[in-house]
């Protein structure tokens, strides 16, 4: 069979990404543009407007870096959910238009599955327990009986959301996670903060409230607050990962998603994997944040297993759960 080529569009939240992947597992392009809010957090409609106005340009760039023309694409993949409705609709609309203009099939992809699949592709992990951490999701998952089962997840806000919101409160530059990490390096005093683990689930909203109050109290140095926030939040993630690892006895652990870029979190996950004789893998930085390559690659896996998304039923699903997605390519 000839090599197939897929273009994937990611527009779940503040990133608009367009990637190109081939059936032999090569990523030919991965272009990203980010909507930076003037103030406050992501406003879904403003982010969607940003995505719509940059869509043509980013698709053009991706085709250019892949060295392809539109008519060389075999099909189009898009992020169908979960995510912010207006943002998802912008990507879905562009994908439908492109697919019908080129006369090629459309494949809807689950955003969370895509983070796992790009991690597996980029690191060579086979059957990992996966910790997927980002601004919108915090999930501990593994493949069992045909689906990506969710062993644990956040009960309220995502860990990245907790960091981003605190960073804004503290006047740290955007994006919040890396800014908190930088500050934390200069801290060294542990401030008591709520550590909330429920079985393999976690809660970050109490931690966010507490850390915000500590900041407003002006009792501590910001460096120490960031240090404590990071230590508590990542120790919680480490603990649920260890629980899930002991529970599933998987031989590998994969860290993926935007927060996977954090060095302290990587060292915690690495230490736990060692303890349990498992191999730890970390998604490369370029594929950690929301990106189009992961959508293109997961679309490819789905397409090769016969998955097609007819335009008439290609509605987005802003709450599409990871554990509801059929994963035929893993058999």
């Amino acid at each position: 069979m000839d090599r197939l080529v897929c273009l994937g569009i990611e527009s779940t939240a503040d990133n608009l990404g367009v990637g190109v992947a081939t059936s032999d597992g090569t990523i030919l392009a991965n272009e990203i543009t980010t909507h930076v809010p003037e103030e406050g957090g992501i406003h879904p409609r403003e982010a969607a407007r940003h995505h719509a106005s940059h869509m043509g340009e980013v698709i053009g760039k991706a085709l250019k870096s892949a060295g392809l023309r539109g008519k060389e694409l075999d099909f189009i993949a898009f992020s169908q959910g979960p995510g912010l409705g207006p943002c998802l609709r912008t990507g879905a609309t562009a994908a439908r238009a492109l697919a019908s203009y080129l006369g090629v099939p459309l494949v809807g992809v689950n955003h969370c599955v895509a983070h796992i699949e790009i991690g597996r592709l980029a690191t060579g992990a086979g059957d990992p327990l996966t910790l997927y951490v980002s601004g919108g999701n915090t999930i501990i998952t593994g493949f069992e009986g045909g689906l990506y089962r969710v062993f644990g997840e956040t009960l309220d806000i995502a860990v990245g959301n907790c960091f981003d919101t605190f960073a804004r409160e503290a006047g740290l530059p955007y994006p919040g996670g890396p800014a908190v990490e930088e500050m934390a390096k200069k801290g060294g005093r542990l401030i008591p903060l709520p550590y909330v683990v429920k079985g393999m689930d976690l809660s970050f909203s109490g931690l966010l409230t507490a850390v915000t109050q500590e900041f407003r109290s002006s009792r501590w140095k910001l460096e120490d607050i960031c240090y404590s926030l990071q230590e508590v939040a990542y120790s919680m993630l480490g603990e649920v990962t260890e629980r899930a690892l002991a529970h599933t006895r998987k031989p590998e652990v994969l860290l993926t998603g935007g927060v996977a870029a954090n060095r302290r979190l990587r060292s915690i996950i690495g230490s736990i994997a060692d303890e349990h004789g498992a191999k730890a893998s970390y998604v490369p930085i370029g594929y950690a944040t929301d990106n189009g390559a992961m959508i293109a690659w997961t679309g490819m896996l789905a397409y090769l297993s016969g998955v097609r998304t007819p335009v008439e039923t290609s509605f987005i699903d802003s709450r599409w759960r990871l554990d509801e997605v059929e994963v035929p390519w893993r058999g």
Partner: protein, 213 residues
């Protein structure tokens, strides 16, 4: 330390069996150091969970929820000496039991969970790994994440853990087992059960992105 045998190495604690601890057969549960956590954070977590486990078990006993007897607690060493419960862990039994027996077991688990919640106890890690079938009863163990609460949200979170276990690990029997668990829970807790079960469903559906428009 003759007669001391490591019987399980969990994610959080090691379990040792001592067949003759002052004349009784006991389980020694020790929460070990976690290298990945800062030492001061780690010490506080191990200490507070040990204390919590002992006090929540005590409370559960008063409410008639089967739990192991506690013989000794050492907070500094994060160690609890408790009764060795003879029986089989529910997690391993799910696929072994016949249909009727399995349904009966989960109805009993539901009833026990309902009674526990009615007594203001939240388990914190309500899964089949933390239940032992012993002499016709289900003994709940591992209360280190437990708390005292009558809040609907806490009950919903506990139920959500149980439901998640059924979907992620016992996926061959999810619907059937949750149905009888639910019936048992309603028997055990009474009229407040409905609200807790509704909250559980809501927690499962909660969006990861909070849309504010």
């Amino acid at each position: 330390m003759e007669g001391l045998r490591l019987v399980a190495k969990g994610a959080e604690a090691d379990l040792w069996l001592d067949s003759d601890w002052n004349g009784v057969r006991v389980l020694i549960k020790r929460r070990g150091l976690k290298e990945y956590r800062l030492p001061e954070l780690d010490a506080e977590i191990r200490r507070s969970r040990t204390a919590r486990e002992a006090s929540v078990i005590h409370r559960a006993k008063e409410a008639g929820v089967p739990t192991p007897l506690i013989y000794q607690v050492d907070l500094e060493a994060a160690t609890i000496v408790m009764e060795y419960v003879e029986g089989e862990r529910v997690r391993e039994m799910v696929d072994v039991l016949g249909d009727d027996e399995r349904r009966e077991l989960f109805r009993l688990i539901g009833r026990t969970a309902g009674r526990m919640h009615g007594a203001g106890i939240i388990h914190g890690d309500l899964t089949t790994s933390n239940m032992i079938r012993s002499r016709g009863r289900v003994v709940f163990i591992d209360f280190g994440l437990g708390e005292v609460s009558w809040e609907v949200e806490s009950r919903g979170v506990d139920l959500n853990l149980m439901y998640r276990m059924l979907t992620s690990t016992h996926y061959g029997h999810t619907a059937e087992l949750f149905k009888v668990f639910r019936e048992g829970y309603e028997e055990g807790l009474g009229p407040e059960a409905g609200e807790a079960l509704t909250r559980m469903e809501e927690i499962g559906r909660r969006g990861r992105y909070l849309e504010r428009e």
